[in-house]
Symmetry: C2
């Protein structure tokens, strides 16, 4: 039996199922990772399934073990991330596994959280269980790339989204931009927001578009709406200050505080908008603050200046570009990104893992920054 258990091959299908279970909570577990678990009895029959639904709720392992009950004894638990061995908001999962009498633990990824970091697997090995790790590790790392990135860098995974015409324009020369993309693409944006913990715009977008920035109910609670303003020159009547639909955070450099108008101060205080004073007007400082507020993944929906600054500070890991079958033209028309100062083709930013899908008449091209 040792040799059967030891082969990764035997666990691929079950690990795929565990990854599938984990994905059901996509966008809802921050600051925690996505985790899914499957429990088999001693004869290898499926007796329990579970996933981590939301921070503060039970981890995947106890959910699956509870479903299995006594049938877990002598069986196997397949889990997408190393079980935790520390007391958090919930008890350590290693102890739940030992209590259930499971004989074998199959894991995709080691948990990079310094409170775990291999300690969970060691605890299980020390207790005499067979431990197999690294099964579908790449797939699991891709699924939890936002969480892993935050743990590694202290900043959430950044997704930069824009919609442009086939000739690379995000607005007409007069600033008009509604709507370049079609209804399917706009609906996709709402879904994308639902996968993120925060949606960030600059002051210019608030002034020009007065956006709502919600997922239109696809996520509950709605993602945090973040206005990143260098000047605090913002309209007091903007929709985004209304906190009934969704919460808003106003990020700004501490130096700008005196520029806050009495009108805006009154609205922000009355509505309970969160304020985040930063040492400087830097995207990376904003993201560090959002990481501390529990964000694993943020969506940049900003203009070319802030987008280019965010890229330059390593705050964007993924591009999602909607390309509409239209031609706008125009030397003065807005484009997705401001200057990087490149003077030779070998300096430009290379994207990888590019992929394309259709959104109605529009095309979505997504890629990761190298």
């Amino acid at each position: 039996m040792e040799s059967v258990g030891g082969s990764h091959q035997n666990w691929l299908a079950w690990m795929r199922r565990a990854l599938q279970l984990a994905s059901l909570a996509e966008g809802h577990t921050s600051p925690n990772p996505l985790v899914g678990a499957v429990v088999l009895d001693a004869e290898g029959r499926l007796v329990g399934e579970g996933f981590h639904a939301r921070a503060g709720e039970p981890h995947a392992e106890p959910v699956a073990l509870d479903q299995a009950g006594d049938a877990a004894r002598g069986g196997t638990i397949i889990v997408t991330l190393e079980p935790c061995c520390h007391q958090g908001r919930t008890p350590p999962c290693t102890e739940a596994i030992l209590a259930a009498g499971v004989r074998r633990v199959v894991v995709a990824l080691t948990d990079p959280d310094p409170r775990v970091a291999g300690g969970g697997l060691q605890r299980l090995r020390d207790a005499g269980l067979e431990v197999i790790s690294g099964v579908l590790a790449a797939e699991a790392a891709h699924q939890n790339r936002a969480f892993l990135h935050r743990v590694r860098t202290g900043r959430p995974w950044g997704v930069l989204k824009w919609a442009m015409s086939l000739d690379g324009r995000t607005a007409l020369p007069n600033g008009e931009s509604q709507w370049i993309s079609g209804p399917s693409a706009r609906s996709w944006v709402h879904g994308m927001r639902a996968q993120c913990d925060a949606v960030i715009v600059g002051g210019g977008t608030v002034r020009a578009d007065d956006p709502l920035l919600t997922s239109r109910g696809r996520r509950s609670p709605e993602p945090l709406r973040v206005v990143f303003s260098r000047s605090l020159d913002l309209p007091a009547g903007a929709q985004i200050w209304d906190q009934q639909l969704a919460s808003t955070l106003l990020g700004y450099p501490i130096q700008a505080e005196s520029a806050l108008s009495a009108d805006l101060r009154a609205v922000v205080q009355a509505q309970g908008v969160a304020m985040e004073a930063l040492d400087a007007s830097e995207p990376e400082l904003l993201l560090t603050a959002l990481s501390k507020r529990g964000c694993n993944r943020v969506l940049w929906e900003c203009g070319p200046g802030l987008a280019a600054a965010a890229i330059q500070q390593g705050c964007v890991q993924e591009i999602e570009a909607v390309i509409a079958p239209k031609l706008l033209g125009g030397e003065l028309a807005r484009t997705p990104l401001a200057d990087f100062g490149f003077t030779a083709m070998d300096q430009v930013l290379q994207l990888r893992d590019q992929d394309v899908m259709r959104l109605g008449d529009d095309l979505l091209m997504r890629a990761q920054l190298t």
Copy 2:
């Protein structure tokens, strides 16, 4: 038998074969259309195939009928375009069909050439043959869209091609543009040129890039290289004046003639570069001239100013945009198209029939202008 013959359904597979035969000469038949033909004997067995290979060479029908010989008697000819009934460089195909003793003629499209225009089918009906037309007419019209467009408008079908980064840039702010796209896309461009009768650039492209503009031997003869220059301020040492690899035509407004430098005049005359003086510097006048020179399809490989002017004058029917997985950035970086003067989203140019394919790491998005 009349009812069997009369149903389009019976002829779809054979018409597809005829279209396939026609496509073998793609890019080589101008100013003539693409035409393919299949001959079946009286029992419905394939006895002849043919296509029109090049202007001045035999039409598809006599090629297929020659192959069939006596077996054509009492049989059927399936042909993608109405047989001609006039004496051109070759004798009328209607007479060849009658001489072969064919009993039934199945056709996709009526020939819009005013010398034919239904007259070919009428001649065959009058002679007592069964004539079925309209079989796969849409497919046949798509295949011959360049020829049909030229007959309808007096101007060749225009394809506008560009390569840009994912943020819509065709060059860095300093003008550097080699290479945005990868080797597969550059090889695809050579193939695209081979499908066209002429490749058009503006003077700016000759000055900046000194391009060769050939299909790298994929078409023989190479497509005509056209330099469209408003000012005739062109380098006498440009590669494009060398007529050994390919022929070149210099199009310019008659008013600019006095600006032609002695150096350039000497080179152009020594090399035998064709000159086309136009009444004004208008893309549509250039295309009318190219139509008279037998061009069915031209490829615009020009900068944003000429590209926008060509679109505005209805000289572009199809866009082929290569999108590279790179970010260039830059307010001053070149984009595909100059201003159209649009001020509202309902004025912008809509594309249709958009399609996407991969070219190595790059993406090709193609669409037609409505």
